[in-house]
Amino acid sequence: MATIEIKKLHKTYSNNQHAIKGIDVSIKEGEFVVLVGPSGCGKSTLLRMIAGLEDISDGELYFNDRLMNSVHPKDRNIAMVFQNYALYPHMTVYDNMAFGLKLKKMPKAEIHQRVTDAAKTLGLTEYLNSLPKEMSGGQRQRVAIGRAIVRQPDVFLFDEPLSNLDAKLRVQMRTEIKRLHRQLKNTMVYVTHDQIEAMAMGDKIVILKDGVVHQTDSPVNVFAHPKNKFVAGFIGSPAMNFVSGEIIKEDELFFINEGMKISVPPPLRISMENYLGKKVDMGFRPEYVYDKGLEKERRLSTDVEIEILVVENVGSESYNHFRLNGMDTIYSYRSSSSHAHFPGEKLTVGIDLERLHFFDNETEETIL
């Protein structure tokens, strides 16, 4: 069990590419932390620095308050599960899991105990004598996890372990890994580019872009209170809708552009005074738009006229893509599929005022 402290970590490559630009993360004992972000954001690099597979250019890494910067990977008491499993193709499942323990010259009996226990936990007992090439992707991933378990490490590291699996399997393995976490109670650091995976699995999510942390928070908070436009747009599917406009005052503060005029919600009125006459971006999630004709009137919503362009009916619900009041940009909202819309339909929808987000047009920070 370990706590991990990452302080002002930097990573610069020999070609002067500055991949990690001063990252701070604090991981508690037994926490399941997900590092997520678009490709190239540095999440894998960060994970590898925690593992010791990459050097730390600047900053400090602590496990249980012990400085780890120059400690060899094998002495960090960690285990890593790789994206492509990294199983030794010429060894059986048993030997794959036992390899590291044999290197440490552990007694045979103990090795056998650990391997068979791990195999039982992962449902691999009947495969112990098989070779990796005889097994499916999901099974191979379990072997990779088993190899990590037998080391009984302080920290588990996962580098996009589910990316090579098909969608259905991914969802299944997701729950298995979470179950494992509940059972073993280890500190786990998990890297993925899939924000749904991140949201589903993490106790805490660290959102990265271009080598910098944009927000560290629980899934709920990241969804409801994104710190900036990037986080707001990255989390949630379909993505949040963004509209550019200006703040004007007509008795009250309004957000306007050529297609709409929305009254600024009361909690934000004070902050918005500073933005009078300035450009501001507004965001609203597809989840918080509703058919006025179908649903009960909600308090604090505002009406907009839309024209539907494309409808994606995925069975349980519909993603409707529309144009607002004659504007060019296409937005989307979700509705139940019991009343399907069709392309070309014009209707009025309500946007939930309590769920609006406003962002400074230049800094892209959320206006609070």
Partner: protein, 303 residues
């Protein structure tokens, strides 16, 4: 959009492609196959036939000799000497060449700068004519040559490497290793690059040293290439000829007579074509036996 009728016609066309394919296949294969038949398949069969005759080029009628050629071969002291030389040659060259090639490939794989340059340097001997390299090494090996003068600087006594029966064969073996290890190094390099980095990283995390990584990961994973290299080496070493001809002409005193050279000598110096053919068949038999044994007991993919 294709109409139903057009589609039907096209489908019919596709169904008759079987005949069409056959026509084209035979047309395409006509010349290549004819060439192969005349210059490959027939000679193979023919060589068996020749070996049972006392073949004289100029004679109108050939004298049937039955197994005489073979019997004579197995009674010939020089044949045994040639076989011994060839076996020693192979046993000496193949392991050293293979290990050297693997070692060089392993070093080259370690993100070193100038990899292109080194790869070229190691490979150049392999693309050069064997006659050329043999001649250059005659100059190096000769009594007044480069090797002796270099050794002289180290205080080692000069030797006439190619005319000394004790050192002649080994000298040619060294040349062979120098020539083809670069070629096999490139094969190994390709094989090494097929091993995913993550395997080494996983091993590193589990505490494997460089040496353990080499033996537990590199060597097993590169096994198909090793198999290929060894088989190619074996076949090449068993048939070594050019260097022997150019450097020592089989001498001194048959010290460098290899089985290939024995075939050449009997066939084209003594003009005993039937006998030479028989010797070639014996040599081929040995090579194929060795290859089969290797495939059975040291297969490329036991897992």
């Amino acid at each position: 959009m294709v109409s139903g009728d057009e589609l039907n016609i096209k489908m019919k066309k596709n169904n008759s492609t079987k005949k069409e394919q056959q026509f084209w296949a035979y047309t395409f294969l006509f010349f290549p196959l004819m060439l192969l038949t005349i210059f490959l398949f027939i000679p193979i069969l023919f060589s068996f036939i020749i070996s049972f005759f006392d073949w004289e080029l100029m004679a109108a009628h050939q004298k049937f000799a039955g197994l005489n050629n073979y019997v004579e071969i197995f009674r010939d002291k020089i044949f045994y000497k040639a076989m011994l030389n060839t076996v020693l040659y192979t046993i000496g060259v193949v392991p050293i060449q293979t290990m050297l090639a693997l070692f060089l490939a392993f070093v080259m794989n370690q993100k070193i700068r100038g990899r292109s340059f080194f790869r070229t340097a190691f490979y150049i001997p392999a693309v050069t004519s064997s006659v050329v390299t043999s001649i250059i090494f005659v100059a190096i090996y000769s009594k007044e040559g480069l090797l002796n003068s270099l050794l002289g600087n180290l205080g080692i006594q000069a030797n006439d490497w190619l005319t000394n029966p004790k050192t002649a064969l080994i000298s040619i073996m060294m040349l062979n290793i120098w020539t083809t290890s670069g070629y096999f190094m490139v094969s190994f390099l390709a094989g090494l690059q097929n091993i995913p980095d993550s395997l080494y990283e996983a091993a590193k995390l589990e505490g494997a040293t460089q040496r353990q990584q080499f033996w537990h990961i590199t060597v097993p994973m590169v096994r198909p290439v090793t198999y290929f290299v060894v088989v190619m080496s074996l076949i090449g070493c068993f048939q070594v000829f050019d260097q022997v001809f150019v450097m020592s002409d089989g001498g001194p005193n048959n010290a460098t007579t290899t089985m290939s050279y024995y075939v050449y000598q009997n066939g084209f110096r003594y003009f005993r074509l039937g006998y030479g053919a028989a010797a070639a068949i014996v040599l081929a038999g040995i090579i194929m036996t060795v290859t089969v044994i290797q495939k059975k007991y040291f297969p490329p993919n036991p897992y």
